[in-house]
């Protein structure tokens, strides 16, 4: 069949597959490609829809019927999803073509993209550096031009962190805005699925397709909004908050990029306001205690009876560490000391963030405190956890947060993080659009 005979969707798909074929051996962003993609592209062509023909890569912890949802772990090496996640159903309904399943930190337990059973992912925008994680393959695939967009999941920064390091746009929606049915758990009270794309408009479009109430219990009862149609970079009357605590924890070169981005927002009409987040540093230990306990609970089903392997027998060290710690601190005698206190601190942090957001429309600041390290460099667990310091508060509070490329330091991308009140995705996206325009 000649090129001309191919429809637009098929042509797009063929181009993507060629690029993947040519360059993904080096990047390692995909674990598995969709063997039915061409057929699906042909169908999408006929069907039309808001995403007609758009190629979307899906993180390997999201169920896509017929493809393996491995969570980049040997534990689920042979788990072929028997059903579509709700978000995947919604993408298909609008004509998107699922490209394949992307690489990630094992069970989303990581911030660097190095802990996959299928090997680490390279950062296409800063070769030799980590792409960030845990949605490493999704961000890398978008940055490398393998996919028009991708789905990631974000429990404590897993969309925003790699988006920042790879120089792409990533959005973690309000908790309960996007259905999780089909997303394999890290920590259920924090996990959200969100889009990764090269520009804010595409991310907004993807978000409006996947958002909105479903039958699952933890969903908010909200209608999806046409974010992409209402985008506006005019920030007059918008108050943008910056917490002085950000300065204490962030490296100066990242702060430089962020400050310049803030001044550009000001130029677009925004008013900059300084706010206080005195408990910012409590967020990290609070977050990890909750993750350990919920992850321990979530992994009990991998007992070796149904999915081939018992998780503790085949998983990597970070996954095992979290299971062991989760098991330890959720014991009856310690539950009060750790988990229950973590939940109390979580309320405190949520209150503090919501209070700060009462004075402003959005908070804008850095995404990670430091630049991505070199691939293969050994970090202690605590050094690794420290990447999440600025991203976990949004998950603890359930508020939306997005990252947009803000500039570079020695060629390494740095993203600006924008956080908003619950369900205020529109104003968040508008501020991101304004920042993007001049990046």
């Amino acid at each position: 069949m000649s090129r001309q005979a191919l429809g637009e969707a098929e042509e797009n798909l063929a181009r993507r597959f060629e690029e993947i074929e040519r360059r993904d051996r080096e990047i390692n962003s995909f674990i598995e490609l969709n063997p039915h993609a061409q057929e699906e592209a042909r169908r999408a062509e006929k069907l039309g829809g808001r995403l007609a023909g758009m190629t979307v890569a899906v993180k390997s912890n999201i169920n896509v019927r017929g493809l393996r949802a491995t969570c980049a772990s040997k534990t689920l090496e042979n788990y072929v999803a028997p059903y579509d996640a709700v978000v995947v159903e919604r993408l298909r309904r609008e004509g998107a073509v699922i490209l394949g399943m992307t690489n990630m930190d094992e069970f989303a337990c990581g911030s660097s993209g190095e802990s996959s059973y299928f090997g680490p992912t390279e950062n296409p925008s800063a070769k030799g550096r980590i792409p960030g994680g845990s949605s490493s393959g999704s961000a890398a695939a978008v940055a490398a031009g393998f996919a028009d967009a991708a789905l990631g999941s974000d429990t404590g920064g897993s969309i925003r962190n790699p988006a920042s390091h790879c120089g792409v746009v990533g959005v973690k929606p309000t908790y309960g805005l996007v259905p999780r049915h089909g997303l394999i758990d890290l920590a259920m009270s924090l996990d959200q699925i969100g889009p990764i794309a090269r520009d804010v408009r595409t991310a907004a479009l993807l978000l409006e397709v996947i958002a909105g109430s479903s039958r699952e219990a933890s969903m908010l009862d909200v209608e999806p909004q046409p974010y992409s149609q209402r985008l506006s970079a005019d920030l007059s009357g918008i108050k943008v908050g910056f917490a002085k605590e950000y300065e204490e924890v962030t490296s100066p070169e990242i702060l430089g990029v962020v400050k310049r981005a803030l001044r550009r927002l000001e130029a677009q009409g925004a008013e900059l306001v300084e706010v206080e987040l005195p408990n910012l540093e409590k967020a990290l230990p609070t977050y990890y205690l909750i993750v350990f306990v919920e992850f321990f609970s979530a992994t009990r089903r991998y007992d070796g009876r149904r999915y081939g392997y018992r998780i503790e027998e085949v998983c990597g060290e970070e996954v095992l560490r979290r299971i062991m710690l989760g098991s330890y601190i959720s014991q009856k005698e310690y539950a009060g000391r750790y988990y229950r206190r973590a939940l109390q601190f979580r309320s405190l942090i949520r209150r503090e963030l919501l209070q700060a957001l009462e004075e402003v429309d959005v908070l804008a600041g850095p995404t990670t405190p430091k630049l991505p390290h070199r691939l293969g460099e050994r970090l202690t667990p605590l050094e690794m956890y420290a990447y999440d310091l600025l991203t976990v508060p949004a998950n603890l509070a359930g508020i939306p947060a997005g990252v947009v490329p803000a500039g570079r330091v020695n060629g390494i991308p740095v993203g600006l993080q924008v956080q908003a009140k619950p369900l205020q995705e529109q104003v968040m996206l508008n501020v991101m659009l304004a920042a993007e325009g001049r990046a």
């Binding site: 912890n61 999201i62 169920n63 949802a69 969570c71 689920l76 788990y79 999803a81 028997p82 059903y83 996640a85 259905p179 999780r180 049915h181 089909g182 997303l183 394999i184 758990d185 920590a187 259920m188 009270s189 039958r215 699952e216 219990a217 933890s218 306990v293 919920e294 321990f296 609970s297 992994t299 009990r300 089903r301 007992d303 009876r305 149904r306 999915y307 098991s327 959720s330 014991q331 009856k332 539950a335 988990y339």
Partner: protein, 450 residues
């Protein structure tokens, strides 16, 4: 020695769908592992849907019938972690109490809550059937107010009756599971699991109390432990001791927002609450002017009580009560069946009562009809037709036939062997296939042969 016994009772709620998904809750006719979806199989990524409202209302109704206070605080759904093949996600979801501080027949009800059933594991074949996984259960926890196996049995009968009256639990039977706590003279508390009938409960308690008393007599301490009831041997056997007790690592399920038991919801359930057994008993005594024993027997099951009330629309209540208590109950007991299981209808009962009062059916024949209906699901009216007494003329011709066919017996009788007439009566019964009135046949034979 003072014995203290308390229960944890689990019974399936009769909802249309499972607790956290829309798979049917009634799996009885389904092939193994077909009545499932990704949610009740706990597949990776599957999320619970909202808690089944029908199940929540069922628990509220039962809590109200057990005179509980309804909890006003948010009711969290907890994950109880343990490792067993029947548990597809490695944890069982169980709610915090929905009702508290109730009372039934002098026994305190500590709490009533909602839980999900696990699948079914067969240790012999190693197979698991998840059809049952996620079916809603009500769990009732009593105070240790019971002091003997006899009391335990009576209380359980009363409780089962209330559950049936609530209309909220499965009536197919075989789904009730009871865990029992037993201690003697403030000794260690022993939990017995794996009891699934009132008979089993009674036997398990008999055995366990004797075991504990024997230990004490020999000066040994009773260990705090969990034991299993082994039905085939009628004994209890140690499962695990306190030292090896499991830690379930309870956490509130992060996928499920807490339930809100609102005043409005409770009042709605209360307004639709069926009459409790003791209320019905009182009302029957007054309204129908029947004895306490009659009323007790008739109200032993809500379905029977309903049928009685309908029958009373057409039959004098005293007569109806006697028929229910003596004839119907006797038939049911003979078959070891409940009224609901028997398939007896008001129509059947009215037909039989009508045939008795018109003289077409003897007492014995009436019982025969009921037995046939219960055993084979036959139509009562048709049976009555077949079994109704013979008219004078048919009986006379049957008598003639018996005399004609048995000249030897006739000869014997006439020659003075009076008992030979019994043989002839038997022959009349045979010829009429039991429809003849034996008394009448005897009279007629005596007359003909004199």
């Amino acid at each position: 020695m003072k014995v203290r016994i308390g229960f944890e009772i689990h019974e399936q709620l009769a909802t249309r769908t499972k607790l956290f998904c829309r798979s049917p809750a009634d799996y009885r006719d389904a092939e193994p592992n077909t009545n499932v979806c990704e949610v009740c199989l706990g597949m990776p990524g599957a999320k619970p849907m909202g808690v089944n409202a029908e199940a929540v209302e069922g628990v509220i109704a039962i809590a109200l019938m057990l005179n509980c206070e309804l909890v006003r605080e948010p009711v969290y759904i907890l994950r109880k972690h343990y490792d067993y093949p029947d548990l597809p996600s490695g944890y069982q979801r169980t709610s915090m109490p929905i009702g508290k501080n109730g009372e039934l027949a002098g026994v305190g009800i500590w709490e009533v809550h909602l839980e999900e059933d696990p699948g079914k594991y067969d240790p012999v074949t190693g197979r698991v059937d998840y059809n049952r996984s996620g079916v809603p259960l009500v769990e009732i926890v009593t105070a240790p107010d019971i002091t003997s196996p006899e009391e335990a049995r009576n209380f359980m009968r009363e409780l089962v009756k209330v559950l049936h009256y609530s209309g909220r639990v499965r009536r197919e039977g075989g789904t009730m599971r009871v865990d029992v706590n037993v201690s003697i003279e403030d000794g260690a508390r022993v939990e017995i699991k794996n009891i699934n009938s009132i008979k089993g409960l009674y036997r398990a308690l008999k055995f366990e109390i004797t075991r504990q008393k024997n230990l004490r007599r020999r000066g040994k301490a009773v260990k705090r432990e969990t034991r299993a009831y082994i039905e085939e041997q009628m004994i209890t056997k140690s499962m695990r001791t306190k030292e090896t007790a499991e830690d379930y690592r309870y956490i509130p399920d992060p996928d499920l927002p807490p339930l809100r038991i609102t005043e409005e919801l409770v009042e709605r359930v209360r307004s639709e609450l069926p009459e409790a057994p003791h209320q019905k008993l009182q009302r029957f005594m007054q309204q129908y002017r029947i004895s306490r024993d009659d009323a007790w027997a008739i109200t032993s099951e809500p379905e029977m009580a309903d049928a009685f009330e309908q029958v009373c629309g057409q039959v004098e209540p005293g007569r109806a009560a006697a028929f229910f208590r003596h004839i119907i109950k006797k038939t049911l007991n003979y078959h070891g069946m409940s009224f609901a299981e028997s398939g007896l209808t008001v129509r059947d009962i009215l037909a039989v009562l009508g045939a008795i009062s018109s003289g077409r059916l003897s007492q014995q024949a009436a019982e025969l009809v009921l037995r046939e209906v219960v055993e084979r699901g036959a139509e009562a009216e048709e049976l009555i037709q077949r079994l109704s007494k013979l008219d004078e003329q048919s009986l006379a011709s049957a008598v003639e036939q018996a005399i004609r066919e048995n000249p030897g017996a006739v000869q014997d009788y006439r020659s003075g062997r009076r008992e030979a007439i019994n043989y002839l009566v038997g022959q009349v019964m045979r010829i009429t296939r039991g429809r003849a009135d034996a008394e009448k046949a005897l009279e007629m034979l005596q007359e003909r042969l004199s």
